[in-house]
Subunit: 381 residues, 3 copies
């Protein structure tokens, strides 16, 4: 189950990162990018960045700004160094940076807004981590959702920070049926319906949209980035995206939204999180994760409806809400084997730990002291 | 304080239920129905079902489907058997089934939607039970509200699952005064105003609407079903419904809504829950419960206003919110005698326990081990 | 750092208050008024009241009604006497009373509505205090916000309790730019723009609006009232108001709203709370508090947008939300020195305690018993 060459490269990099402050910083930031999809691996983060810049230099630049602001804030406020090193104060920051730049018009003020958002995401991350430590529950991307919602809702009342055309105030109308035909939005080009091309687009754009990247190639690159760190997570990213699109198609969601991956990205995150990361991968947890992914596609529609009167986007709130519910239940369902936050590494390592008895009901936790619970404090080599 | 014949019948039934897997399942499901109004009694559940089917076979059928789906999910995921046997994974499921069928047009997809909703309600129930175990706070019908809201909000974006005429998107308008005259909606028949007939309708439909049953006879049957298990709970159901309607009439709420019990059903649940179930019944807790019931009628209007821009129903969210607030305060108010979740049975048994010193400040809890807190794990004979 | 004459007068008053039930009650109620801005001082409360009555006898009268109702409810339900004596069941009540009278037309029913609101605010206060005791987190003005929102949302459906002209249902419109010129609303008199007069108005009305008092003189009186108890808190009130207005002006918020202090009052509360009250005042916590104040001005716009489709006001929800986030993070940020809720007195006393080692990382808390956590149970002399 070793990942061979990429794994060895990662280890060589780790040695490099440990000895040099600049390299340490770069490693920290790249892990922050990787953590957007639960991959504590600088190489994954680097390939994620490549995928973003392939699509949009502007979004990539603002993402890096948010990433730097959130990570720097954590340092300045004296957050735990191990948590910072694992990128846990970076992934919300990069999402805030990309998200604000995605929905707002560019001007000078936006730069300050993104820096402020990055800083706020770090305070929110620490706040939610403390709040949820009672249940050993991860904050997930809730700090990003909270920060981005607050800063996006606000601009509707501001003259100097303006939403772009993606923000459309449109209260729901029960008399209007959505157009379900699968097709591309902007160009109108290409065949309409369940063609292989359209289905491939929905599948990979669903992975790309996790970071607001509406591009097939970026989705492919993101999948490869995950694969470098965890084959299981890559598989569940694919399954999640497919299931999200399929669910949306079945209930008759807007075909353009399905084509562009909007019903997929929350399902991708649910599937990765529950399919091996926070539960040991078994047949039962696999089904549990995929049902959650399916439900997240419905919840995407629910939260979109809820926010339609103010024209605001659901972001990854469907993923956060569904995954919290499915994780909170863990202590009561004997059919599942949860992984404590302090033990989270990769889906493959959890499987190995389960086989050797380090993780699961046979684990030696009762009479041995354990590290305090916090968001995934995996040791950095 | 023994309930005589019905109680003896229930005991005979318990013996039957214990020995036979089919009977055990039936007993489990019926207790789930009874738990909708905090009555852990299969006979109460059976009479509730009769009351539903008298009004609508369709709603009854979908209710049973949700009930079965939620209970089966709890078994498959390995939930605690005692909790399942007490119907604690059933009451949200039946409400989800009835609620979705009440607001959505029928088609084949609705069957799958209800099954999924029942399953989700069980995961949400376990999640909320774990979340609230920190404060020994019950989940109440929050799993139903959460599940039904998410699945109902979503359909406004789906072509293959459609809301019926009961879902009306209508943003609030401060210039329009509600019509306060008490009267029936559909037919327009009958006298208008505070007539005995109209007041009787409001009173009993308020009890029926707890399970979406807008029929006087069903309200009477529900009241009898509660009475079979607890005279105190039946009394508070009546008082709650009366107080909810009276409050709404006083502030000038829509008279059609009052006639059809819409201002009563949350007050019914508040009054039962706080009037003897989660607090020992005393004069002070009775007043506390009735004030909560009164407030729940106001909160019904508040949540209805909040959801008006997307046309969605308040469901039992007013009950859940008000009861949580009034229960969370329990540790700080010496004038009230709370009943621990692990000790919840019937209002009558709590009174008896208080008199004999088993429940209340004199109870021997400090130095004796207690069962872990969870939603009402009353032992099933 | 002693406050000299005012402090001595306060101590003389304390002796008087201790010996006489009427005086004790008056002292209790005045402390409740002072606690609106975290000042547990009856003289501050008295001057606050003077500031309110200078502006509006009606608002003052309803404020006193809510204050009395909430405090009496706490007595009747058997809440902890020390908490009551410190005014912790009063500050939400007075805000509910003023808030309901501010947004609703006067009629006889309003009196009952305010009494009910005061009572509900006390139950909510106790509920939230118990809920948050897990994290040693204060309820702040959340009981007021929750109570006032529920009772205000509701009236849109009631014929006998009507909103006044301040409640305007106006869904957001992305095509309309706000008018940013700083100016007075009603009269239209006076110069427009960044004039000293307009800036002074924004500054002091921001302090007055904490209690819905849209008057420059009231803001000055409020500031003096705070100064009597804590020079640090008075300074941060000023800084918060200035920063809130400045932030709003920078992003281009509505100039009339800025003039009337609507972007200031949440920032005032954030700055006081985080600038010396819940953290020991250091350069780092000062910056932390001011960043929170700045963010609260943005969050005011966010929550206003969110509630625009139902025309409802943000109240102090921005302050509550931002301060909770910034306080929840405290356990994880080593750069800050939190003050435990049981130790909260004045910003000056915290500084002194920090210097003498009573508060902070060197404090003798680990092996000494401490009082149970609750909202600021400062001993009353």
């Amino acid at each position: 189950m070793t990942a061979a060459a990429p794994q060895r490269a990662a280890e060589a990099w780790s040695g490099l990162a440990a000895g040099n402050p600049v390299m340490t910083t770069v490693d920290t930031l790249l892990r922050g990018v990787g953590q957007v999809m639960f991959q504590n691996n600088p190489l994954t983060g680097l390939i994620f960045l490549a995928g973003i810049f392939v699509n949009s230099g502007k979004l990539g630049g603002f993402g890096l700004l948010g990433l730097a602001a959130s990570t720097l804030t954590a340092y300045l406020l004296g957050a735990d160094r191990a948590l910072i090193r694992n990128g846990l104060f970076g992934f919300n920051g990069i999402l805030v940076g990309i998200g604000l730049a995605f929905f707002l018009n560019y001007n000078g003020l936006l730069i300050g807004y993104v820096i402020l958002g990055g800083a706020l995401s770090t305070v929110a991350m620490m706040g939610l981590a403390n709040l949820f430590s009672v249940w050993d529950l991860p904050a997930l991307t809730a700090p990003f959702v909270l920060t981005a919602w607050l800063l996006l809702f606000a601009v509707l009342l501001f003259a100097n920070l303006r939403p772009n055309a993606l923000i459309v105030v449109a209260p729901p109308d029960t008399r209007v049926l959505p157009e379900t035909a699968l097709r591309e939005a902007a160009t109108g080009a290409g065949a309409i319906g369940l063609t292989p091309v359209n289905m491939t687009n929905a599948l990979f754009r669903g992975i790309g949209e996790v970071m607001f990247q509406d591009k097939l190639a970026t989705g492919v690159i993101f999948l490869f980035a995950i694969f470098v760190n965890s084959r299981i997570s890559a598989l569940f990213a694919l399954l999640g995206s497919a299931l999200g699109a399929l669910t949306a198609w079945t209930v008759g969601a807007n075909g353009v939204a399905v084509f562009h991956g909007l019903y997929g990205f929350n399902a991708v995150l649910c599937a990765i999180a529950l399919g091996g990361v926070f539960f040991v991968l078994t047949w039962r947890s696999a089904i549990y994760a995929l049902v959650a992914a399916l439900i997240s596609a419905l919840v995407f529609a629910a939260i979109s409806t809820f926010l339609a009167p103010i024209g605001m986007p659901a972001l990854t709130a469907p993923f956060v809400l569904v995954t919290w519910i499915f994780l909170l239940a863990k202590a009561g369902f004997k059919a599942l084997v949860p992984v404590g936050l302090a033990d989270v590494t990769t889906a493959e390592a959890h499987l190995e730990g389960y086989r050797t008895g380090r993780i699961g009901p046979e684990a030696p936790s009762p009479d041995q002291p354990r590290r305090p619970a916090s968001d995934a404090p995996k040791a950095v080599p």
